[in-house]
Structure formats: structure tokens, C-alpha cells
Symmetry: C2
Subunit: 226 residues, 2 copies
């Protein structure tokens, strides 16, 4: 357990969903204090208990509403379906001031989820930045990782492209990527989030056409970060 | 040499540039009849001669103007800097009717080439489609492959994401990817080209930060196409 992990509390809004729960599981295991957020605290409490059951003692995972989760955390991870993206952010934005928001959302628009369809802001992460305003650092990450990989213990063969409003924000998220047992890359400014978000549709397309279930990407030709 | 290769002539507009020349070299080697296009035929003739010198006998590579190259080819590959993208397409669009246009362009906007900055159409490939109109199939591909890899003989560790206006167009381009010795994936409709084009900026960013020169991507978790 690192010093950072001891000091930081991470909220996962929408942490009852498969990907959010998987991320919370991995970070709790790494020693972070975790808060699962959901629209109702009951569902969040249930998800927190599930994660605690899978973990050794000494971990800290609690469940509450999205708003209370955001209020009590240092870092807030948003893992909701795109249809709930704006409303969730509007409902917690006051609690985000001075904090880091990590947006995991791929803005899929059913029924054509294998076609890239970005919001007018350019990407979900840029839209989040527009909603939360100046006092919040925003990063985009984890859009391409299959939740099945997160709940398992094996190595995940999918790199994470990390974009963000500052180098410091990207570095903080790269620490979280590593804590989750994944390999992350600084992929540049938040405007570049369109690549990782859009890649989700490309990978859905590949899964459909090539008979796979968990297609991902790996960066080649560069020294892999530790 | 396959039957298709014997029947098809490929023009590479901007084929005097490093990436275009690399692609032309690989396709000529695979048996396709190649036409290098450039703004002036002199430069194109020189590039064609360079390629012929590197190849065994039996290959066919000629050079001429972009317009004449487009007129005489079955498939037209556009490999120009983004600053010349619109003008080149306007100048050849009449010659493209009924043909397949393969857009290799990543719309980099200097000086911030590591930041994704797409044109209003959504991507360079979608902009190309707007310019050339209904009678031309358009595909996007090869935006992430380093030219150094193309001019060499070794295996290229960078997969190619192929998008296009129809499944048939994508299949035709996947055949070209394979002929160039690369692994390609059907990445869906032309709207998805923003991912591959934007990835070029992400990879430039990775090269800058991680000290690499030829970062690329590989699809994981899916059976690799033959």
C-alpha cells in the first residue's frame, strides 16, 4: 500500500455498474479507500458489500448516493451510461470543486453503438468539463477496458489511454491505472479523449465481425511504462 | 501475384511523400500496377524511378500529375499533408467517379500536432466524402503507420484500422492492407475514421513523452485476421 493510497478516497459514481464495480474492486485491493455511489444508497451499499466479500480484510469500501460519494472523495470517477452522463454531473458538480474528475464514459448512442457519435462538445470528457466548469480538473480514461477483465485477477491485455486538462491530472490518473494493474499512456490533452471514447465503438465493431468478446488495444513501438 | 493485383491499377496522390512512397513500394512489390501522382510530373517520375530501382524486375511504377494518376487508376489513394487535402481532392474529383478513394490523411494542425483537431466534417475522410460526392466510395486507412516501416522489409508492428462508406469498400482496402504486409481490421463506417486519424496525434504525443519514434497500435483480444 503506497502513501498516496493511504491518503486518498476515490468515489466511483455509477459504481454499481459492471465497469465501475470492477474498478472499485481493483482500487480497494490496492489500498485506496473507496466509496461506491449510485442513484439510491441501497444499491450502492449492496455493491460495496459484494466487493468487500471478494477482498481480504483491511479494505474499505462503503456505499452511498452519488452526491454523498462525490462530497466525501478526493478523486471522483464517473462510470454511468452516457444517457445519465449530463444529469449525474449536474447533480454533483458543486461537490467536485477543487477535485479531479475521471470520466470513464464512452458516449454510445443506441442502437448504432458501433458507430462513433460524439456529442457537440467533441467527446463525453469535454462535455463533462463544460458542465463542471473551471474549478475541476477532468481526465478521460478506462473507456476501452472490458469489465470482465477488471473483476478477474489475470493481467489485462488492454492499454489505457489517459487524457486530461493538465499534465498533473494525467499523472494522477496514470497512478490509478497502475494501481488497477493496467498499463496506461499519457495520451495528451482532454481533446484527445475522442480517440479513446470512439475506440470503444471500433472495438464493439471488431467484436461483432471477428467473433471476439473483449477486443482491446495495445501500444506498440514504445517502451512500456513500468 | 493474385488475380486482383493483375487487374488493378492504384494511384497514390502525393506519392512523392514518405508515406505515399512507402505504400506504393509495397503494393508494386505485391504485383499491383502503380501510378505515383504529384503536383508536377517531374517529381512523380523521380519517385517512381526510385521505387523501381528498389524492386526486382516485373514491377510497374510510373509517375505523372495527380490528375492524370487519378484518371488512369481503379483505386486512388490520397497521401498529402492535410493543408493540401481539400485542394487536391477538388482538382481530381471528376476523375474519381465510380472509383474507390482511400484517404490516408491525418488532419494534423501545426504547431499543435499532438492535439486532436478534427475538421467540421468530423474527420479528414468524412471531409473527403463531402468533397467528392455520391459517386465515389471513400475509405480511411493507414493513418498510423510509420513510413520507415513501409520502406523496410521487416514486419510492421502497427495494425491498420479500416473505415469506409460500405462493407465492400472496407473489404477492398483490407485486401490492400494485406498486400502491403500489414494486419488490418474492419473498423466500421467512415464516421469511425476520427479514431484512426486522432490516434495519429495520440501516438505523436506518446513518441514525444516516452522517447519512442514509431509508436503504433495493435488490436488485442480478438483472433488476428490472416
Amino acid at each position: 500500500m503506497t502513501k498516496e493510497a493511504l491518503l486518498l478516497t476515490i468515489a466511483v459514481l455509477g459504481g454499481t455498474g459492471k465497469e465501475g464495480k470492477g474498478l472499485a474492486y481493483r482500487w480497494a485491493k490496492a489500498g485506496y479507500r473507496m466509496i461506491i455511489g449510485s442513484r439510491t444508497s441501497e444499491k450502492a451499499v449492496t455493491a460495496a458489500s459484494e466487493i468487500m466479500e471478494r477482498l481480504e480484510g483491511g479494505s474499505s469500501v462503503v456505499g452511498t448516493t452519488n452526491l454523498e460519494a462525490a462530497q466525501q472523495a478526493n478523486i471522483v470517477v464517473l462510470s454511468v451510461p452516457y444517457s445519465a452522463h449530463r444529469d449525474t454531473l449536474e447533480s454533483v458538480k458543486e461537490a467536485l470543486k477543487g477535485k479531479l474528475l475521471v470520466d470513464v464514459t464512452a458516449p454510445l448512442v443506441p442502437p448504432k453503438v458501433s458507430k462513433v457519435q460524439m456529442p457537440p462538445a467533441g467527446s463525453a470528457a469535454q462535455e463533462a468539463k463544460e458542465i463542471v466548469g473551471e474549478d475541476v480538473e477532468v481526465a478521460g480514461a478506462f473507456q476501452n477496458v472490458s469489465y470482465k477483465h477488471l473483476m478477474g485477477e489475470e493481467d489485462v491485455e488492454c492499454d489505457v489511454l489517459v487524457t486530461g486538462t493538465s499534465k498533473k491530472a494525467r499523472q494522477e490518473v496514470l497512478t490509478l491505472v497502475e494501481a488497477a494493474g493496467l498499463v496506461g499512456w499519457d495520451a495528451g490533452p482532454l481533446e484527445n479523449s475522442v480517440v479513446a471514447e470512439g475506440l470503444t465503438s471500433v472495438l464493439i465493431n471488431i467484436n461483432k465481425l471477428y467473433g471476439s468478446k473483449h477486443a482491446g488495444i495495445k501500444i506498440t513501438g514504445a517502451p512500456r511504462p513500468l
